[in-house]
Amino acid sequence: MRALGRGAGMAVGLVLALVITLALFGLPVGESLRLIVDGAFGSEAGLSRTLVRMTPLLVTGLGMVIAWRAGMYNIGGEGQFVVGGLGGALVFHLAPALPPALLNLAILIATILGGAAYAGIAGWLEVKRGVPVVISTILLNFIALQLLDWAVSGPLQESKRQLPLTQALPNEAMLQRFSRQTDLHSGAILAVLVALGVFGYLFWTRSGFRLRLTGANPRAARASGHSPDAIRMRAMLLSGALCGLAGGIEYTGISGQLGMGFSQNWGFLAIPVALLGGLHPIGVIGSSLYFGALFAGTENLARFTKAGSTIVYVIQAVAVLGFVGLAAWLEDRARKRARPAEGET
């Protein structure tokens, strides 16, 4: 019940953030809201757009949840997303003749492995070399984008060698679409299933419990006989695997080929999505839906008013800052109330 109340309170707060931002931009609030809601949910096409944008946000957001819950502040979702995609494109490049269904599966597996391996570098650097993950993952993002640039205009370039793109996947090797008119694909369902899986992992398995324990207090994990380093490394691998999978879903669900615009900052947006979702898998379903709808809705808004697409970023920023501030305030209040009745001399 309490969680439900908090969710409702947050939804109200997010709508409020939206209204304030619109007002600040000097847009007619009522009309703008109608355009946004209409663009996000008003039609089959709008709903499809919302869910298509929600999907990569959800899966990368879950990747952030796993890492951050273990105390590994992975900022490298973008790099892991891209390297995952590259792993998938490499499979297609090497084995284009695989049966389509098998090819799709092999690509998804390769993206998982690619993302995990890439995040593993950052995990290894922190655990063995003391390089903070925050720093290494940021830097690895740049390397990944350069890698993408090099690959799509070099070894993985399409066969005509005209555009900086990889060879387009045949339609049969793409994720299934529900309608010819919209882009909605089965990856959206997969994403929600992954969210449920992450929930089960974190709260119903021993390994997930230890991951949360390590994030909350690594010394307590150590004192109970579990190596915080091994758990952190595992969390980074899982986190990267999810971000890579997000790349794979985007690749086989939407784009079908990689270019420099392969990731629309999904891996970066994953961080506000995860924070807004309270670092909880179910919460992240909600926050990724909100952001997905915001993207789809503001695209519609931009079509009919002078509002640029930048407004979506402003709203995001307002929402996240408001939320983080609120959470800090609540935590502070809870701490003051529960001041332990015990002193140190």
């Binding site: 307590a220 809870a334 001399t345």
Partner: protein, 477 residues
């Protein structure tokens, strides 16, 4: 003369200071000695104005000091050299020294002029310091010198040193003592918080001992010896009680020639062994920081051995030995304060058969188990989902003790399990440990509290610098 009269300070159930009175003379190094939790830091923080006492007064040369106002205390002539350095690492030595003497925020800043008195003291003490180096990169011994110079530059008559030797090498300790004597000869009142007896004997002129918030005694150093001070610190050696009267089982914990490294790669445990039988409670005494933590962690298997062997055996030969560990600092090592009470109980629950199925947890069964532990150990909680940080210290410790001892592991290592607890909670933990021993567990109880060891242990050994020093109490093996 600096005098404290009838100072009391209470934190929740813990009486940190109980009507403590003492006086400190100009021209003396006056050591304030006591175990952890004796109240020595609390006393000094009151004198320096960082803590407001519940009652009592502090006077300097007959004038009352304003209580609870550190800036006013400094202005009145009491300076404190903190144990945890209060330096700005990105600032230079000169800037840090100037910071301590910063006047108003108006006007221009002349760091060189403000730092000059302190640097003059440095020269006088024979310390060469480059005023332009960043303090963050300096060795701790040098950082401490900067900290001392900050205190000296105000020419305060009273200087308080809070465990200044904790971070120093022996050579640095010698130099610090030389400086303390020098300052004493200039007529300053030097208060030295300490818990190492040898250091007190080496440098102090007089010593005041506190125990559990009470004043025990003040004496000139010539009239005491280490043994008497130790007795004052931990209480009279009590008459032996034999609480455990169960037939001893087989040896469940056996360690030989243990060498264990500390966090700074120093040899913390230097080649000792032990043997504990089922039904036996081995007490390990000694002053903190003599390798007890490292020994405990090695015995439970979370700290690698440099050399030597440890064998842990099960009461039931058909199963593997189970180990329970009650770490010394429940908030740092025992609990994850941001997680719920349920999660904190599950720290021990994830390995319990019956609460898991392969990699999965059986949440329903785990909840029932958690409820049972809460009931059995009378932990006072609102609900299992509440954060553990909201519990009192005693109930937090019951969470740690309850989850660890509920299944009665074969080998139990408990380290200062009653530190900071009130009498009822202490008694509860003691009874639980004894019950575990009666059920056949082999227990190692590491404690700095002699009363506790005497009350519980089948036999007691003492540890100093990573080795056994003696076997004083009991002789069952």
């Amino acid at each position: 003369m600096l005098e404290v009269r009838s100072l009391s300070k209470r934190y929740g159930p813990v009486q940190a200071l109980d009507r403590v009175s003492a006086s400190f003379l100009p021209g003396e190094v006056h050591a304030v000695l006591g175990e952890n939790g004796a109240g020595k830091s609390t006393l000094m923080q009151v004198v320096a104005g960082f803590l407001l006492p519940d009652e009592g007064t502090v006077t300097l040369e007959g004038k009352s000091l304003p209580l609870g106002h550190p800036i006013a205390s400094r202005a009145a002539g009491v300076e404190m050299v903190h144990q945890h350095f209060m330096l700005v690492p990105a600032f230079t030595v000169e800037e840090n020294l100037a910071l301590a003497r910063l006047g108003s925020l108006a006007g221009t800043l002349d760091t060189a002029r403000l730092a000059q008195p302190a640097l003059d003291f440095a020269r006088e003490l024979g310390w060469s310091l480059d005023p332009k180096t960043r303090t963050g990169g300096l060795p701790v011994g040098i950082q401490q010198r900067v900290e001392i110079l900050k205190a000296l530059s105000g020419d305060a008559p009273v200087l308080i040193f809070d465990e200044p030797t904790a971070v120093l090498t022996p050579d640095e300790v010698d130099d610090l003592f030389r400086v303390l004597r020098r300052l004493r000869d200039r007529g300053k009142t030097i208060l030295l918080i300490a818990h190492k007896l040898a250091e007190v004997m080496a440098v102090a002129d007089r010593v005041t001992v506190l125990r559990r918030g009470h004043f025990v005694a003040t004496a000139p150093i010539g009239e005491v010896n280490e043994r008497r001070l130790a007795t004052w610190m931990v209480g009279d050696l009590p008459t032996a009680i034999q609480p455990l009267d169960v037939p001893l089982g087989p040896v469940l914990l056996e360690a030989r020639d243990l060498v264990v490294l500390g966090d700074r790669r120093e040899e913390a445990v230097g080649g000792i062994g032990l043997e504990v039988r089922g039904g036996e409670l081995l007490g390990i005494g000694g002053v903190d920081g003599n390798g007890q933590v490292e020994l405990a962690e090695a015995l439970v298997g979370i700290r690698p051995l440099r050399s030597g062997q440890i064998e842990r055996r099960s009461r039931d030969p058909k199963t593997a030995a189970t180990v329970g560990y009650i770490p010394q600092d429940r908030q740092a090592d025992g609990l994850a304060l941001t997680l719920s009470i349920f999660d904190n109980l599950m720290i021990a629950g994830t390995d319990r058969p019956g609460l898991r199925r392969g990699p999965l947890l059986r949440i329903g069964a785990a909840r029932q188990w958690a409820d049972r532990v809460v009931e059995r150990f009378q932990i006072k909680i609102g609900g299992l989902s509440d954060p553990v940080s909201g519990l009192s210290g005693g109930n937090q410790q019951k969470v740690v003790v309850g989850r660890t001892l509920d299944a009665i592991p074969d080998v139990i290592v408990a380290m200062n399990p009653t530190r900071g607890l009130d009498i009822r909670a202490t008694d509860f933990v003691h009874q639980t440990l004894l019950d575990a021993a009666r059920a056949g567990a082999a227990i190692v109880l590491i404690s700095t509290d002699l009363d506790e060891l005497a009350a519980l242990a089948s036999r007691t050994v003492f540890m100093s610098r990573g080795r056994w020093t003696s076997t004083l109490l009991g002789a069952s093996a």
